[in-house]
């Protein structure tokens, strides 16, 4: 695809619908972000797929032209941040409508959001806020996941969040909470290894045991990202900033998860201090190498 074709006149947007997506053959993808729009379209990359936040493409506009061009070349995962599935309130109809329009046009292979909340009353706080892990939260989350799946006519994935705060009233651990939501609604689990790592530090639990507890057959996608260590008077808190390369410990956790769960589409997320495309694709190459190694181990075992 030449760069020229991107610069079509923006008169009529007559892209799509694209043919339905199969699960990508190449398992590793990257987030498509504004600074890389043109380069991703003009470079031949060894990538299985691209991920975007649907919220950035609601209602049309210039962004959508780039997404349409990208979708011609790559499989797509729509990873939402705005459904606020964990809110006490029902999911906003307007949000469901905007999201469904994109699903119909772009035919993503996966659709997802988080086990967290953002909206309360008249405010939508722009962050993934923590839920108490109680039966009440589970029921409310399940209701919103079900509404969403019914509206979309398809299964969604729900991601384990990064949290910095836990609750006295927790009735179960997050790993069990994630399994339960999948059992109750038929949704899949989007397993974010960096989020597990960050929380294991922030709340003092064992990240490996979390992965062992997750029911492997629910996992439909994995995410990897970088975090920062934030110094406070009373210790270090890890913050999931998506602003750095994936840490070595998180790669180890990823290896463990791939061995346990098998190969699923895996995303490298990088959302602030966005590096050059080469660096980002380099992270994807690392994930691919890990998958190749583990697959080779499996073959060696089978041959024994």
């Amino acid at each position: 695809m030449s760069g020229q074709s991107i610069h079509t006149n923006d008169s009529v947007h007559n892209y799509g619908p694209f043919p339905p997506a199969a699960r990508p053959v190449e398992p590793v993808g990257i987030g498509l972000r504004y600074p890389h729009y043109k380069e991703v379209l003009e470079t031949d990359l060894e990538l299985g797929w691209l991920e975007v936040h649907p919220e950035n493409y609601f209602g049309g506009g210039a962004h959508r032209h780039f997404l349409s061009e990208a979708r011609k070349q790559y499989n797509l995962s729509l990873h939402a941040v705005g459904l606020s599935l964990g809110s006490d309130e029902p999911v906003a109809q307007e949000h469901l409508r905007g999201f469904k329009e994109l699903i119909d046009i772009y035919q993503p292979f996966n659709v997802s959001d988080h086990a967290s909340w953002s909206a309360s009353g008249n405010a939508h706080l722009n962050d993934l806020l923590p839920l108490p892990y109680t039966q009440e939260s589970l029921d409310k989350l399940a209701r919103n996941v079900e509404t969403t799946q019914e509206y979309f006519g398809r299964k969604i994935l729900v991601e384990n969040p990064s949290t910095y705060l836990a609750f006295e009233g927790n009735e179960m651990h997050e790993d069990v909470f994630m399994n339960r939501i999948a059992e109750m609604t038929g949704c899949g689990i989007l397993l974010d290894l960096n989020n597990i790592y960050v929380q294991a530090h922030n709340h003092g639990y064992d990240a490996w045991s979390y992965i062992n507890t997750i029911d492997a057959h629910h996992v439909g996608e994995m995410h990897l990202a970088g975090h920062i260590e934030q110094e406070a008077d009373d210790g270090v808190i890890l913050v999931d900033t998506h602003s750095r390369p994936v840490k070595g410990d998180v790669w180890d956790l990823y290896k463990h998860a791939v061995r346990k769960v098998g190969v699923v589409p895996t995303l490298i997320e990088w959302d602030s201090d966005i590096p050059d495309l080469k660096t980002l694709v380099g992270e994807a190459d690392k994930a691919r190498a890990i998958i190749a190694d583990i697959e080779a181990e499996g073959m060696a075992h089978a041959a024994e």
Binding site: H7, T8, N9, D10, S11, V12, H13, E55, N56, F58, G59, G60, G61, A62, H63, R64, H65, F66, V81, G82, L83, S84, S87, D88, A92, E94, H95, G98, A119, S120, G121, A123, H124, L125, N126, D127, L129, L131, P132, T134, E136, S137, K140, Y164, L165, A166, F167, E168, G169, N202, H203, G204, Q230, A232, D233, D234, G235, I237, V239, S272
Partner: protein, 258 residues
């Protein structure tokens, strides 16, 4: 504590004065767990995520406003805006709408009377970028309209076209800010501007347009027929040439397809 109460209280806390995070309400504190790392440290991560990400978004939407007041001033102003006007929904492409009115009532910005118009100009640019796609009216479509029907025709502007009038020279201010050349002086009294903000080839552009032309586009975007708009403009601007203006805007693809 029920989920609804927790979410409501937590939201209020996030939008409250920053000092409150150091001593959160007792019942909310009892509901949360702290451990080695104390509750205020944990709450501040969320507060920083919320205010920080929205501030970054506002910086991206209002680069000229920020250049005029400086980063520190802008960040303080942005925080006040955010706490008073948190997003109302999960789509943030238009977040920052209302910044112009906010600035108009923001006392520290009073010495810069043009700031409100600059913010409105930047809001238009953002809206133009995100505006829905629609097809343009072409000369060929117009050519088949019988001449006697042209008078009564209503045509409208495309979704990405915005008209801005200011008594300040907005594009000169913009140029001055973006060049950042200390040796250059800006004459704020050089007169105002009539602007059309629009999207071409996926980029937002701005054109300085004539006063009659501005008036004409304004009239038709308010629903006047071509004949009414022309009559109105001619009464004020005797030298207004409808042929030239139509021709120009057919080329710029300003009008929406019939």
């Amino acid at each position: 504590m029920q989920l609804s109460e927790y979410q409501n209280r937590f939201k209020d806390l996030m939008l409250d004065h920053p000092d409150v995070l150091d001593a959160p309400p007792e019942d909310l504190a009892a509901f949360c767990k702290s451990g080695d790392i104390a509750l205020p440290t944990r709450l501040k991560v969320y507060r920083n995520n919320i205010v920080g990400s929205l501030t970054d978004m506002l910086k991206a939407t209002f680069p000229i406003t920020q250049a005029l007041v400086g980063e520190k001033f802008f960040e303080t102003m942005a925080r006040s805006f955010i706490l008073q006007n948190p997003p109302a929904k999960g789509v943030l492409s238009h977040y920052g709408e209302g910044m112009d009115e906010f600035i108009a009532s923001y006392t520290p910005a009073k010495p810069l009377p043009y700031l409100t118009d600059i913010a409105a100009y930047e809001i238009s640019k953002n809206h133009s970028y995100h505006a829905a796609d629609d097809a343009p009216l072409t000369a060929a479509q117009l050519a088949v309209i019988p001449p006697e029907e042209l008078q009564d025709m209503q045509i409208t502007l495309r979704a990405h076209v915005f008209l801005i009038h200011s008594k300040y020279p907005l594009t000169s201010i913009e140029e001055f800010c973006m060049e950042n050349d200390a040796d250059k002086a800006l004459d704020l009294d050089q007169g105002g501007e009539h602007l059309m903000v629009f999207r071409r080839n996926l980029d937002v552009e701005v054109a300085v347009i004539g006063q009659g032309e501005f008036e004409f586009l304004q009239q038709i975007s308010n629903g006047a027929s071509l004949g009414e708009a022309m009559e109105q403009v001619l009464s004020e601007f005797a030298d207004f040439n409808i042929q030239d203006v139509l021709q120009k805007h057919l080329v710029l693809e300003t009008f929406r397809a019939l």
